[in-house]
């Protein structure tokens, strides 16, 4: 393998990881955008999505893969959408007036709750995630690309384009952007802000669900603990891109995935998690608002 081929190979691997991080980071950033809440339970929503997808894969394992995957995605999105909206309605909405730290603690409680609910339902051990995608691989100039990677790129890419369209050119998207700018003014103008916020949670959670499904396909096993580290990294990605900024989350996710892929390839894979955080800390020191971000709230 020439150095260039090695580089391109790590790039392809990093891009796969990056697409998954970006999908999860979008949820963090959208929710932060509308109510300035770091939803620490979002990583758990991602994990719930992975388990929901697993359930469908196990139930309908005989279906052809191109029909099975959309069904999986749909089921996972529905499950997570419901979880996200319920979380907003019953945990976050009642304390929206309280100091922001309280919401953080609620999110942590929520994350314990979801983790343990999944553990009770599916067991504490690693679950095999059967991969329905046929193991097709292409060799492009010495760089191996699998069908699964292509599926992940296409899914991630199309979802992000769809989200961008939704946010930029529909009434709902306009209401979401308006809510993010000034919640109070929106309420005065008759925009049903509570419904917009709930919808934002729902959409963000559904995106995490797709991320969960792709994660299961990519790694082949899932565990109820997975939400924690992946969620943390996706959050890092959201901050990297500038939290509250939707294109920023996409960029941040892909950048983080690439950094990790390249870091694991060229440095030691042991240090890859540190690598991501070190880059984040250094970036924030020089550009305290992330790559594409704006100012954030000052108070804890």
């Amino acid at each position: 393998m020439t150095p260039l081929q090695l580089f391109l190979q790590q790039l392809a691997n990093g891009l796969t990881l990056g697409a998954i991080y970006a999908l999860i980071a979008l949820g963090y950033t959208m929710i932060y955008g509308v109510i300035q809440l770091i939803n620490f339970a979002h990583g758990e929503v991602f994990m719930v999505g992975a388990y929901a997808a697993l359930t469908i894969v196990l139930l309908a394992s005989s279906a052809p893969w191109w029909a099975l995957l959309p069904a999986c995605a749909l089921a996972a999105m529905t499950a997570c959408g419901v979880v996200g909206a319920a979380m907003e309605r019953f945990a976050y909405r009642p304390i929206r007036q309280a100091p922001r730290l309280n919401a953080l603690i609620t999110a942590i409680g929520m994350s314990f709750f979801l983790q343990n609910a999944i553990m009770l339902l599916y067991g504490a051990t690693d679950r095999q995630f059967p991969n329905p995608i046929p193991p097709v691989r292409w060799d492009i100039g010495g760089v191996t690309v699998t069908l699964m990677q292509v599926v992940i790129w296409l899914t991630g890419g199309s979802v992000m384009i769809g989200l961008q369209l939704l946010v930029m050119s529909t009434r709902l998207g306009m209401a979401m952007r308006a809510t993010a700018q000034d919640l109070r003014a929106c309420a005065l103008l008759g925009i049903p802000v509570n419904r917009i916020i709930a919808t934002t949670f729902m959409i963000g959670s559904a995106l995490a669900a797709i991320g969960g499904m792709l994660f299961g396909l990519h790694y082949g096993t899932i565990n109820f603990h997975d939400g924690y580290l992946v969620g943390l990294k996706a959050f890092t990605a959201a901050v990297l891109g500038g939290i509250g900024n939707i294109p920023g989350a996409m960029v941040g996710g892909v950048v983080l995935g690439l950094l990790e892929g390249l870091g694991a390839g060229y440095l030691s894979s042991q240090w890859k998690n540190v690598f991501a955080f070190v880059v984040l800390v250094i970036l924030l020191l020089f550009k305290p608002t992330g790559l594409l971000g704006e100012r954030v709230a000052d108070r804890a």
Binding site: F112, N194, V239
Partner: protein, 327 residues
């Protein structure tokens, strides 16, 4: 002049509390329950330290477990590689953790708000993974083994090795918590404490009044780190081993949850919050596998029913804090 009657009633109350704490192992020598209490008191030490940073100064710190880890590893490494006894190891553990707090603060305090939270979170992860990966010194993921338990010379009893007994550690942590709580009360009433609170309320106004904001924030981080370092050394000595897994992000947020439950900025609240949350998982043990599920629910409900915490002493300021939405 402090009110004499008030001082006397305070003294009586504290004496009763101290006597009860001292008598507990004699009345109920169940080692398991003592261990649970010891762990909860270690949490109380951590909560007291974090309370200086988050509760008094208003700097949201999500990587506090790192200082605990640094304290534990400092004593552990000094002991395993140099044979340093516990009583000599506590001071370096505390100093190193405190200095790390300041060292982290110098770059980190340049960023603000939620970004500061993520930088501190990143710091916590970096420290934990670094201890995992420095296998030659720290034993890597398996942990640092064979750390000496404390030994104490007692009049008439010769040298007492704490070993794996429960009561000595309970007393040790009791004394440490009482001392640290005393220091925290004094600190929070001092000029420094008032300056910290001023920074929490309004940083710009505080700096206009001539408060050296950055120095005081660094001081808070240093003090908080030093307290965590003491707790870490005690933890290492009690366990006899330290593994990097003990210091994950969940520990940082648990300690944060404790001070929020107790009421931000309140010393009493930090101790009570830590005792409550620290022993709650054990109290819920009867529910076996539903334990952590209920624990999560309890945290959610607590925030909903009593958002200002148990001893939310600064209610006026908490309502003034910027909420994250309307309604």
């Amino acid at each position: 002049m402090p009110d004499l009657a008030h001082v006397r009633s305070q003294t009586i109350r504290w004496s009763i509390g101290a006597l009860a704490a001292l008598a507990l192992p004699l009345i109920n020598p169940n080692p398991y329950q003592l261990d649970v209490l010891t762990t909860a008191l270690l949490y109380a030490l951590l909560a007291l330290g974090l309370n200086l940073i988050v509760g008094l100064t208003g700097v949201l710190h999500l990587g506090y477990a790192a200082f605990f880890a640094i304290g534990a590893y400092t004593y552990g490494l000094l002991n395993v590689h140099l044979g340093c006894p516990f009583w000599l190891g506590v001071a370096p553990a505390s100093v190193v953790a405190g200095l790390c707090g300041i060292a982290l603060g110098i770059p980190a305090l340049r960023v603000r708000g939620d970004y500061l939270a993520i930088v501190t979170l990143g710091f916590g992860e970096i420290v934990r993974i670094t201890f995992t990966n420095l296998e030659a010194w720290t034993g890597g993921p398996n942990g640092l083994l064979g750390i000496d338990h404390p030994r104490l010379w007692l009049p008439g009893q010769g040298i007492l090795d704490f070993g794996v007994a429960s009561a000595p550690y309970y007393y040790l942590v009791c004394v440490a918590t009482a001392l640290v709580a005393g220091v925290c009360v004094r600190l929070s009433r001092s000029r420094i404490g008032r300056a910290w609170r001023a920074i929490r309320e309004d940083e710009v106004a505080a700096s206009c009044m001539g408060i050296p904001v950055l120095h005081l924030k660094l001081l808070a981080q240093g003090c908080g780190g030093a307290i965590a370092g003491i707790a870490g050394a005690i933890f290492a000595a009690k366990q006899g081993t330290v593994t990097p897994d003990s210091f994950d992000f969940i520990l940082s947020v648990m300690v944060l949850a404790m001070i929020v439950l107790g009421g931000l900025g309140s010393v009493r609240g930090a101790v009570v919050g830590a005792l409550a949350l620290g022993s709650l998982p054990e109290l819920l043990r009867g529910f076996e596998q539903y334990r952590m599920l209920l624990f999560g629910l309890a945290m959610i409900l607590m925030m909903r029913l009593r958002p200002q915490g148990l001893f939310g002493g600064f209610q006026g300021t908490i309502t003034k804090q910027k909420p994250f939405g309307i309604f």
